[in-house]
């Protein structure tokens, strides 16, 4: 029993240490890589992979979340006499919380798994070792472009998620309920400050970076065989998903405290 707990603890700490070294190695290549045109040439196909292929699913997700938020909140807002402010509830929820989280989860599922599978296959077929033997650092060649694609495109995808959700909320308000169009957008404009947009933006950058790193790490150190690659893909998604939720809480807690410290309490009603 004690042996099992001890081995498990050592294994966990070893994995954290390995991830730390991996991250540090990536950062060391990232800084010079940003100035190297070859890094961007390698990243271009990945931008397409992460951005273009994830966009439809993000838009659909954002739209339906916006629809659900509007439908679920309408009765309560109407009873409280705040039905014109429905846009605030829908948009603020999306901009600060659901937009970054949903975009992150979608990127983790749609792209993170594929990145892990690709790198895992490269690992088991010795392609990563081949890079090393040729004197081409595999983290510089493979991880830096994937990290850049995830960290740069997740905020953009989050924007589309927010936009689709807000428009879907408007569609419910105006077309299905008795809320005029003008107050819907007016209150959004009134209530959502640059700070709220910035919080969502910071979250999406952090989530994107985490997905890029976790997906690459899991692929890089996957076990041999088809089962190893499959397991790495599952672990990649689960770890990214849980990390996004945990990070969301801590960033939200920190940013709201910071906001109160700078601006004080802000009422939306």
């Amino acid at each position: 029993m004690l042996t099992t707990i001890g081995a498990s603890t050592i294994g966990t700490f070893t994995a954290f240490g390995q991830f730390g070294v991996f991250t540090w190695h990536m950062i060391r290549w990232l800084v010079p890589g940003l100035l190297n045109p070859r890094t961007w040439r390698r990243a271009m196909p990945l931008f397409y992979e992460v951005g273009n292929r994830t966009l439809p699913v993000i838009m659909v997700t954002g739209t339906f979340v916006g629809l659900v938020l509007a439908v679920q909140s309408y009765d309560q807002l109407k009873a409280a006499g705040f039905k014109e402010r429905m846009g605030v509830l829908v948009s603020l929820t999306l901009v600060q919380e659901l937009g970054p989280v949903l975009a992150g989860v979608m990127v983790a599922g749609r792209v993170g798994g594929a990145l892990t599978a690709e790198l895992g296959t490269m690992r088991v077929s010795d392609q990563i070792s081949a890079l090393t033997v040729m004197g081409a650092d595999p983290i510089r060649q493979l991880v830096v472009p994937r990290f850049l694609a995830c960290i740069l495109l997740t905020p953009l995808l989050t924007f589309f998620c927010d936009l689709c959700g807000s428009v879907a909320g408007w569609a419910v308000a105006v077309l299905a309920k008795d809320i005029p169009s003008e107050p819907y957008w007016y209150y959004i404009n009134y209530a959502i400050a640059k700070w709220d947009v910035m919080v969502g933006f910071i979250k999406s950058i952090i989530f994107g970076g985490m997905i890029g790193l976790i997906a690459s790490y899991k692929g890089f150190f996957c076990r041999t065989g088809a089962a190893g690659v499959g397991q790495a893909c599952t672990e990649s998604f689960v770890t990214s998903f849980v990390s996004i939720l945990v990070a969301d809480f801590f960033i939200g807690y920190f940013m709201s405290g910071l906001y109160r410290g700078i601006y004080g309490f802000k009422s939306l009603v």
Partner: protein, 272 residues
């Protein structure tokens, strides 16, 4: 197809040690894979490492290019110790080695031209035209022409090996390491690879280290054969002398026979 195979005697290398492994130890958990191995690889010679599956042949090969770090012991390239170098320092050393992986390890997303040109683009400042010229010349050396635009998935197993070999020699390395180069190929394709190994030794004077199970291949290409067994070398000699070796472990391997104790236990199980 390579014709008129060059003979082993054709090479007149100076036979100075290029790579030295000194008292190399490696273990994975409780499994001891290398148990104080010493080996010198001589310039311009082909050394074949044979041994049963799991005997540590590939592990040994991986130590030469520091894909693995020894638990104890030293690895020298010429007179420079390389087992303790950082990854950045190794970047200078590794292009002097070529490595043919068992699964070829061609990059799936790149064409043949990009695969073979990869190390050249990575380590030189040559223009694309010059790189293309070298790629064509290396592909021609391994007997392949007109496939530069194809992807690895469009190639046969033998073609993949030859493209991987062209990539391994793209920077004119001093040492070429082959990890089971004939595994998975039919006998004529396997023999083509053997001929290519001999051709490279003859024409480029490269030092070759070949890990294989294939005794026909080993006898054809080797200047020297070493056999690894449970972490130690149990044979070191010429292809001619291995047939006379009295050690039953070597004899069984060379003749492709299972060990007497295994045979006995199989017969017992069969009769019960």
């Amino acid at each position: 197809m390579v014709t008129q195979p060059p003979t082993r005697q054709a090479n007149n290398g100076s036979h100075e040690p290029v790579v030295r492994l000194v008292n190399l130890h490696k273990r994975f958990g409780d499994l001891v894979v290398l148990n104080g191995v010493d080996l010198e690889l001589l310039q311009g010679r082909t050394t074949v490492i044979i041994g049963e599956s799991g005997s540590g042949k590939s592990v040994l090969l991986n130590h030469i290019v520091r894909l693995l770090k020894p638990d104890k012991g030293e690895v020298y390239f010429h007179d420079q110790r390389i087992d303790n170098l950082s990854e950045r320092e190794l970047t200078e050393i590794r292009p002097r080695f070529g490595f043919l992986f068992q699964l070829s390890a061609l990059f799936d997303s790149l064409t043949v031209r990009q695969n073979v040109g990869f190390p050249i683009a990575e380590h030189t400042k040559k223009k694309r035209k010059e790189v293309d010229e070298i790629v064509r010349s290396k592909l021609s050396m391994v007997g392949l022409n007109g496939i530069e635009g194809k992807y690895p998935a469009q190639l046969s197993g033998g073609q993949k090996k030859r493209v991987a070999l062209a990539r391994a020699i793209a920077l004119d390395p001093e040492v070429v390491l082959y990890d089971e180069p004939t595994t998975g190929l039919d006998p004529p394709r396997a023999d083509e690879i053997n001929e290519l190994i001999l051709k490279l030794e003859h024409e480029l004077g490269v030092t070759s280290v070949v890990v294989t199970h294939d005794m026909a291949s080993a006898k054809k290409i080797a200047d020297r054969i070493v056999m690894l067994y449970q972490g130690d070398f149990i044979f070191d000699g010429t292809p001619e002398s291995i047939a006379q070796c009295a050690d039953p472990r070597v004899h069984c391997f060379v003749e492709g026979k299972c060990h007497a104790d295994v045979l006995q236990s199989l017969q017992k199980k069969g009769s019960s």
